[in-house]
Subunit: 449 residues, 2 copies
Amino acid sequence: MMKPRTLSGFMELLPAPQQQMERVMDILRRTYSLYGFTPLDTPIIEDAQILLAKGGGETEKQIYRFTKGDSDLALRFDLTVPLAKYVALNYGQLTFPFRRYQIGKVYRGERAQRGRFREFYQADIDIIGDGALDIVNEAEIPSIICRTFTALGLERFQIRVNNRKILNGFYAMLGLAERSQDVMRTVDKLDKIGPEKVKACLMEDCGVSPEAADEILAFIAIRGSNDEVLAALEQYRGRNETFDAGLEELRAVTRHLAAFGVPEEKFAVDLTIARGLDYYTGTVYETTLLDHPEIGSVCSGGRYDNLAEYYTNKQLPGVGISIGLTRLFYVLGEQGMLNPDLPCAPADVLLLPMTDDLGDAIAVATALREAGIRTQLYTEKKKFKAKMAYADKLRIPYVIFLGEDEIAARVVKWKSLATGEQTSAPLEEAIDAIRAGLAAANAGKPIRD
Amino acid sequence: MMKPRTLSGFMELLPAPQQQMERVMDILRRTYSLYGFTPLDTPIIEDAQILLAKGGGETEKQIYRFTKGDSDLALRFDLTVPLAKYVALNYGQLTFPFRRYQIGKVYRGERAQRGRFREFYQADIDIIGDGALDIVNEAEIPSIICRTFTALGLERFQIRVNNRKILNGFYAMLGLAERSQDVMRTVDKLDKIGPEKVKACLMEDCGVSPEAADEILAFIAIRGSNDEVLAALEQYRGRNETFDAGLEELRAVTRHLAAFGVPEEKFAVDLTIARGLDYYTGTVYETTLLDHPEIGSVCSGGRYDNLAEYYTNKQLPGVGISIGLTRLFYVLGEQGMLNPDLPCAPADVLLLPMTDDLGDAIAVATALREAGIRTQLYTEKKKFKAKMAYADKLRIPYVIFLGEDEIAARVVKWKSLATGEQTSAPLEEAIDAIRAGLAAANAGKPIRD
């Protein structure tokens, strides 16, 4: 016999939290669908050469790579590379702009650590254009993030947006175009090491003059409402074409926030955000939980110019965001933010037959299921107390009893375990009452913020 | 640049068929839930030693097994072994009977062949008892199969049921208890090689006497309605305890079919069914598509006495069934049985703004999404004809136009691409009309039988 265990770094939930996770996924699927994204499901295993066509850098060490027969295989480490492959492969059969969502597991052999996962869900959306992609697609992304997080029950979050062209243009103004990557990498440490040290690093490591370093610090210190930040950026207009283009894009992304249903306070232009230095080329997004800045961004992404350059000559610009779902779910659980009041039971009704012949009880179970009520027929040979304990432990909200008396009177007797209330009535009434009770119990959102 | 490809044996669907697959999965999830099964999600990678504790036989050669660092890892090849591990590992935190469903990918490195998959979905349900499990759980399984397949749209299917105790008891009567495995393996070939050759094999390979061979052929030739088969089996009662117990179980499984909502013609006692010779111990199930017997069973399972014997001393009897979803979906597609009339578009509405300012169009898109209508805002710089072609290609059912006139009159103009009909009315009316149209279009089932 062998001691069972689950590999460390692999999330495996008990039934009740799994129900919460399913609810979260369901909301993601529904919200993404509302914006016209179609679901995709690509293999978890890909040809390693193809998956790693770009060359992996940091990621490559973490890849699960192995051979089977003559095949050099690897597990996907994100959903973007498989999307690039898919779009290049099926280019002729897709219609552009191509909007897809994918919620799937990805694999990275990170060092085992509490809250770090080697198998985890990403929940991605991307919009891919053929040659060109209108800026309104970028403007729509905050609306999707906002609706998704609101539907999950989050309230205290903020979508932070910047534009890489503004950054690149700004650094070009200072004559730092060549060094902009190093400069941005240094500026990225602002939160961690503070402005003095950033200035020192800029001068020592990046060779920036003291004046330019001050300009950089002043620039990324621009704060305020969206209008205030945009107004401050106007001061720089006219000095660099890339900057001006970025500012136009940022204006386009902020212009229709209200029409898109994004409340002003959920959105902030934030010049410190750069993200994936060599990948994104325009708008970039991060989403933070205001009360949990230590988590970092829980939904990030941006605009890129060329999705599938390693697989096709076609120019395929796009914009996308990704939620690290497993980590988010884990953190929300740790923070006590998963709503414990939502039903997580495997069934809505536990049906207890009180007669030897089970025909009537089975017919009632069938009718309940017909009515969409999740019903478990319980026929184990146990004492009444044990049967009720079963419902209690699983937090099944209703128990229906069916004895000789009920069958004779053509009624069912049901008990709400929440209120303790017991009622006898014809099945149709029971169904209506239970449905109403379930609707009320299910009205909440999976996250309590 | 690298030519993109997807590994052979790995299903990767285009958007429209993927929508059909999603619909099928949704129905499975919903139907399984109606019977009180809770969803589980276990890792795809497990410790190889644990996954292969049982020793793999045929399967072992097909396993994807590899090392990462010091870890000996393997991809799951079914959902039953991970369930056994899960139940043994979490025994103290689960409530029994434990009912779970799992729809997940499993991996087998089979020889590449058309219609054979190396990565495929299984859709499993299992009911696990702690020490004991009431026979009614076994009786309920045909109801679950029937409701699931009916919900999918299948009509011409039959659930075939047998009981291993009847077979074992019968062979014991003939003094063939020791050789029953060999005998059953031979009898299993009946469909392929015919009765004469089976008889010859029984005598030559299994050492069965001619009289016993005739008895075996007569036994498995028992045919007729459920009542007729049960009556024929009564003739054997009293000669062997195991047989009698099996007959009682079979009677219990057939007794309440009507109350369980299973039409008589969808169910047949079939004494030729044995399945997994060393695993199942009681009721066994197969499900065949009447017009496609060549496919074999599309949903199989049975009762077992000890789920997790390799991981725990606890006696955990259970009953379960499995649908090989990827293969079923593939075969249904090949047979032209996927309903082409169901909407597979990524959106319900394509919204075409006809003004330079997009504020009103965006507000309409937001209102449509608020109303649960999947809406894509289309703002690419294309000619009108190209925009309509986009809706056509993707088979988006409605296009909404919003021009100066509509905005001034506070209406929207929408066109049904199915009927060509164009209407102008206030947004609320459009929402009602579109909702009604979508409900009608979505009323069908994913499979057309």
